[in-house]
Amino acid sequence: MITTATNTINVSLGEMVISEDPEVILACYGLGSCIGVSAYDPVNRIGAMIHVVLPFGNGILESSPAKYANTAIPHMLQVLEKHGADKNRLIIKMAGGAKILNCIPAGSMLDIGEKNIIAVLEALALHKLSIDNQDTRGNIGRTLFLCIKDGKTTVKTAMNQTIEL
């Protein structure tokens, strides 16, 4: 069980945070249709987390690469490798991609959560990577935690349910 610690770092909308500090816990709070993706190298004990908002950029905005799934994944991999992580050792997990509004038909254009999930999986596949575990879809909000000390990844919901990925 992860409690709120002073060394918990909030990875906000469209942000990426990387850490090698064993005292740090990375967290994507309140994920709805957004997706939190964590990647952890258990040998070097280095981890990163991205808070993906949308599947793809529309070219209008010069945004943070972590905002869009198609640019966030390569950006995170690049930064992790630059800091000594081995791409092939990474344990990758994700949470979110929910359809908070039940009235949106599943798989429709408005189902951004599903589109985000697909875009993350496709971006990982381009790097010959896949998700090790996930807690996605449904219609609940989630918070994703990654403990840098041991790579433990946990998801917590509004109803205080906690699961370890």
Binding site: N10, Y29, G30, G32, L54, A98, L101, G141, A158
Partner: protein, 198 residues
């Protein structure tokens, strides 16, 4: 978002103030309690900071969400701490607080009506001031993390902007000595309207 002239800003703020005052009066009338408008903040903030207005992204809230469309598009969230929402339910339909739980049809319907009244009072004021027609969506009642509820609006607004133009209203329900938040998030279309008040 296009840059607004000082005059346009002034017009927008006056329209919003009128709309929010009408909304809070409508809510007061509906629940039969005195409500005091304690704070009205109109500002542009980075999207990543918006959840702070609802107590942080991992705060559990009961929110009533409405979208509105027409010449002006945007999102409205009426947010309460669960205990406050249950007090509202008690006064509206006599349902006692039994702790955080999935909301029954009756609870959803009553809270939906609260959002409906508040949202439409606000939108009517805006529509009348600008002589336009605005269509609100049916209200959706959600009990979830604030960040997750805000995502509904953010995925729309962040397709075109990095910042959010928002109206944060805090009101005190006197008898309960507690507060709620009425959050309005406007997308780009709103700022392309001719701000000529009839």
């Amino acid at each position: 978002m296009r840059t607004l002239s000082q005059c346009e800003q002034h017009v927008i703020e006056n329209i919003i103030k009128k709309g929010v005052t009408d909304a809070v009066n409508g809510l007061s009338e509906m629940i039969g309690k005195d409500i005091h408008l304690s704070e009205l903040i109109i500002k542009t903030i980075p999207a990543k900071d918006i959840a702070v207005t609802l107590g942080g992204p991992d705060t559990t809230i009961i929110g009533v969400y409405l979208a509105f469309s027409g010449p002006a598009n945007g999102h409205i969230i009426l947010a309460h701490h669960p205990n406050v929402a249950f007090k509202l339910l008690d006064s509206l339909v006599g349902i006692k607080n039994t702790g955080i739980h999935d909301l029954s049809d009756l609870e959803q319907s009553a809270l939906g009506e609260v959002g409906n009244i508040t949202g439409t009072f606000f939108l009517n004021a805006v529509a009348n001031a600008l002589d336009i027609i605005i269509h609100p969506s049916p209200p959706v009642v959600l009990i979830d993390l604030a960040g997750a509820i805000l995502d509904i609006a953010m995925v729309d607004i962040l397709q075109e902007e990095e910042d959010v133009y928002m109206v944060e209203t805090t009101y005190i329900i006197n008898e309960y000595n507690t507060k709620g938040t009425f959050l309005i998030m406007l997308n780009n279309s709103f700022f392309n309207l001719p701000f000529i008040v009839k």
